[in-house]
Symmetry: C2
Subunit: 150 residues, 2 copies
DNA sequence: TATATTTAAGATAAAATTGTCTTAAAACTT
DNA sequence: AAGTTTTAAGACAATTTTATCTTAAATATA
């Protein structure tokens, strides 16, 4: 798995949030049911995203979470970095500490181009891009179901 | 981390093995010391690679492991697949079961190209390519040290 | 044949990740 | 103000990954 499960759950939730109106808050309970993710686990993940200032939250009835910015302005990279950290965009395959152009490992050059491409694509793709994609093609964002919104 | 620690250890060991003569067996003890990997843990990983027919092993004095084929003929993909499985070369980012062109997720199209490129590069790069790279540039394969061989 | 060496295999332990549960704090509703 | 709803936070448990330890089996060597 390229990303941790937490990260995947976070991405699914964020893409969903980008697919609906940003007016008002969305309850995590409802989110967890729609996306079929454990409520408490999802809560923790979304707390990380709140801490990273990608979500804002509100307690109490009518409370929940919502994107801080338009989904158009939030990149996939921001979400991944907030949960899994920047390693996937920066590190070499052999995981040697400080591997870089100054002190490369044998696989450095071979991997560099692909890694840069991953970085590029996650930097230039927004949550809105993904939600539009899902909506337009009616793709699924849940294990069994379809892409869900509204 | 794009690959598991086991997989990274396996890659380091295989690249090292490809960098030395295939005459005779290399003891896992020696390998573990050179590469700075726990002996027992490395043993288990190499057993997987033996099971996958990428290594052959011999017990007793003068025993150890060696590549079954020339490092020129073993691809990085074979090593990764033997340890981490094929997911990285086939699966989509959102980890939805059975995601593919028939039943895609919103991130499917966006990721497909990069995933194919990863598959391509790991399929066409051999252990020998990496060992040559390391030898030629005197690159490191151990956390602190240099590329080690002989 | 006896002994030493080395991988194989499986039990056990430690650490990290994933998942659950409980309580507290905040905000809305009446 | 009281009660309800919801996120926040942290304790706890289960699972997976990583790492260690012990014993068995195979092989070479003397």
């Amino acid at each position: 798995m390229i990303f941790s499960k937490s990260c995947v759950y976070g991405l699914r939730a964020m893409i969903y949030l980008a697919s609906i109106s940003r007016e008002g808050y969305v309850s995590i309970k409802g989110l967890s049911e729609k996306l079929d993710i454990s409520f408490h686990f999802l809560t923790k993940i979304l707390q990380e995203l709140t801490g990273a200032d990608l979500l804002e939250s509100m307690k109490g009835p009518k409370g929940g979470v919502r994107l801080t910015k338009s989904g158009r302005c939030i990149t996939l990279k921001e979400v991944v970095e907030a949960i899994d950290g920047p390693a996937i965009f920066t590190e070499c395959v052999l995981g040697l500490p400080g591997c870089g152009s100054e002190k490369p490992c044998p696989m450095h050059d071979m991997w560099e181009g692909t890694r840069d491409e991953i970085n590029e694509i996650f930097t230039t793709t927004s949550l809105q891009d993904m939600s539009k994609e899902g909506k337009a093609k009616d793709l699924r964002i849940t294990p069994d179901g379809k892409f869900v919104w509204g």
